[in-house]
Symmetry: C2
Subunit: 453 residues, 2 copies
């Protein structure tokens, strides 16, 4: 790994902005210290330097269908009709297409400011449900896509057993997703052997409707579940909450908190429909709420109770999920705006000790993202990757550090991430990823083949 030795006018840290700062890689990730003048041999990074963000929820293959489901399917168009389009699309994607789509997506993520992604990966088998020659082929395609782009990957092989809370078998278009618990745990162990600085392996449980109680208990008691992050989709849809209530006698988040030792290793993705009590319990658990505001808006899911959750000390991060949008700016901006629109108030995600909405949203999403990716333990407080904003952008003219994150997150529509350093090298320079042309060409071929099928 190239040992970065840089100097910047202002570097954001969880403790605040540091002026005239030296930035180096150390054992705990980026080390930032006030230096006064540029140290000998230090590379000038720029005026505004931020740590890279983790995108805590991704289904990479869905990137290729962005824009294809914004037509009315029937009179009562909802999440469930969107899912039909998604299944039809997913049914045609093999390892080669997945790799090409994911690589294009990861380039877009890096250019937007995400330097790590958590892949909630359930597209395991051939369309007819039989395993590929190597049952890890689809997972390996994601690993390869991450490697060729330089993004850090937290891969979460996903357990998907049943088609509903009633325990029904998977439907014909879901058989690609399924595993026995044993085969699933073998896949996790197989992938763990590949872990590196830029790759770690966690576990995902698709949802309570796809994982019966006994299977949940078996996985959580297994050896592979003793380390790494654990993610689960939960309480995204009102219908799902109603089914859980009628078939398990409790709402999804209450049920999970009652049946699993949910702690800081967990990420509950969406968690949209919560009672006040569930909101408080989730906040107190130490788990990360995995919020995906653009996808949740696109799907008409609803709004997370952010104000109460933050008041309870809850951790959250953001994910681009379906990749209808790929931008931490849009996720955080509209996470806040959704709250404002319903509360008829401004500046919701603030606290007396942190009056800047942008600063608080960024700080929380950064910390929650690292936690959900399994990277915040053992003194690693800064992460390894950094972003340099475009100091020449007219949008940032006249902005001081107090207003920098407010301006980046709330103002304008032009990408402001100019350079991205990750995994010990510059991945993006002057808005261009070093391999973006080749990757875009491969993506175009893959999409053309999918559309022609």
């Amino acid at each position: 790994m190239h040992a970065l030795n840089g100097f910047a006018d202002r570097v954001w840290t969880p403790q605040g902005w540091i002026a005239d700062a030296q930035v180096r890689h150390g054992a705990d990730g980026l080390e930032v210290a006030a230096a006064g003048a540029p140290p000998a041999g230090a590379e000038r990074l720029g005026r505004w330097v931020l740590p890279g963000l983790a995108n805590l929820h991704s289904h990479a293959f869905q990137r290729a269908m962005a824009g294809l489901a914004e037509r009315q399917g029937n009179a009562e168009d909802s999440f469930w009709t969107w899912r039909e389009v998604m299944y039809a699309f997913a049914g045609r994607i093999g390892p080669e297409a997945l790799r090409a789509i994911a690589a294009q997506l990861y380039v877009e993520m890096l250019k937007a400011g995400y330097t790590r992604v958590c892949e909630f990966h359930y597209l395991h088998h051939r369309p007819d449900g039989t395993p590929y020659a190597d049952p890890a082929d689809m997972a390996l395609a994601l690993i390869e896509a991450a490697r060729e782009t330089g993004i850090g990957l937290t891969l979460l092989p996903t357990l998907y057993l049943t088609g509903g809370f009633d325990g029904r078998a998977l439907g014909p278009r879901q058989v690609r997703f399924g595993h026995t618990v044993d085969a699933f745990l073998r896949l996790v162990e197989r992938l763990r052997a590949l872990e590196s600085d830029r790759l770690n392996i966690g576990i995902a449980l698709h949802s309570l409707r796809a994982v019966p109680a006994d299977a949940l208990a078996a996985v959580l008691a297994s050896e592979p579940a003793r380390q790494g992050p654990i993610h689960i989709h939960i309480a995204e849809q009102i219908g799902e909450v109603q089914d859980c209530l009628s078939l398990r006698g409790a709402r999804p988040v209450d049920w999970l908190l009652d049946h699993a030792a949910v702690d800081a290793r967990w990420c509950l993705v969406h968690a949209t429909h919560l009672t006040d009590r569930e909101t408080d319990r989730l906040a107190a658990s130490g788990a990360v709420a995995g919020l995906c505001p653009t996808t949740e808006a696109n799907l008409g899911d609803g709004l997370f109770p952010l104000k109460r959750y933050l008041a309870g000390g809850g951790a959250f991060g953001i994910g681009s999920d379906s990749h209808i949008s790929v931008s931490p700016v849009e996720e955080l901006r509209w996470l806040e705006y959704g709250q404002r629109l319903t509360a008829h108030r401004r500046n919701i995600a603030v606290a007396p000790e942190q009056p800047s909405t942008g600063e608080r949203l960024f700080g929380r999403a950064w910390a929650g993202g690292l936690q959900a990716a399994g990277l915040s333990g053992a003194g690693r407080t800064h992460g390894d990757d950094l972003l340099v904003l475009d100091e020449d952008a007219p949008l940032l003219a006249g902005r001081d550090a107090d207003h920098l994150l407010d301006t980046w997150l709330f103002a304008g529509n032009v990408p402001l991430v100019r350079h991205v350093h990750g995994g010990g090298r510059w991945l993006v320079r002057d808005f261009h990823h070093h391999d973006e042309d080749r990757i875009a060409a491969a993506y175009r071929s893959a999409v053309a083949a999918l559309r022609a099928d």
Copy 2:
């Protein structure tokens, strides 16, 4: 004016996409006709050509404060505390700064796909309320900014008389905005003399709280009000609705529809808080609802009843208003998403005859914007300006015409407007405005001077 003679793979018109189309300027604006093969001498425009959009609501000076008000002002932060920040900021802007800020803004608008802007202009006088040497100096600054960037301008000098529904005098920071009715009408007539292909003059009434009933009647009966568009802020805030109810005995939209001959020349800006009856009456009036989703979200205003309004045949357009965002994509995307989030349904702005959400939103916003700008009469159905999207963008790979507007409006976060033709010339080529560097430098100087004051 340069007579465009172009050829494109697909051109959007209100009647649908036209393939292999010739595009020329005629007496009624752009003329688009299927041509089969490229006509002799025709310039290739690109794969996807759209008409330019009108941005129907702008307070240009506010662009320079984007990002400065996203900090908590007090425990109950709202529109009214935002307004305090805005007043303090407005108090320092003179004609030279206004011109520099507006020019930067108009470059950003052109690059985002707006080729016309309606300026709701109330920053008329010196900070102490005395007129400038020429009382039109601030209006002329906006005209000059539009001219140097090439954007079309619909200038709406704004009548602002009182500080509230109770008829109180303007406060010390509002005296810049005020006019007698006579002085206001003189300003309108003065500016009318400057009208051209790229400049027309309408009238704005700031709001019901700033224009008493007798003044409203006097202006509407005057000679200058017999032509051109008429805009008014209305029903943006719940407090404003309550004040109107208690002091005028009716809700704002009901009151206006009862006291003015509201028709297709009118644009009611915001119109956020409507009863079902007001929604239906407004839709039936033929007026345009001037929706500003990003500003309305930033200010915590609330959500417009889009579904019912469209069902009633209502016209709407979009405006970037405070310019916290400058993008028709973000306005239309989140106009739709706000509806989805509260209805828990997808694809709200569709109709049986037009199942594409993006197509319907674009078509309505395009037509409503032209109407609000006073450009849709006398057979002018296409407008004069056009946009060419980036055919090389990976986001558009594999997208056919049926999904093109859905993809542009809903997917991704990278600007896709590559070229812009307006007023008979190319204003933006390959994402760059022909004069953007000089304009950005002038903007930076203006902001630095404002911040240093």
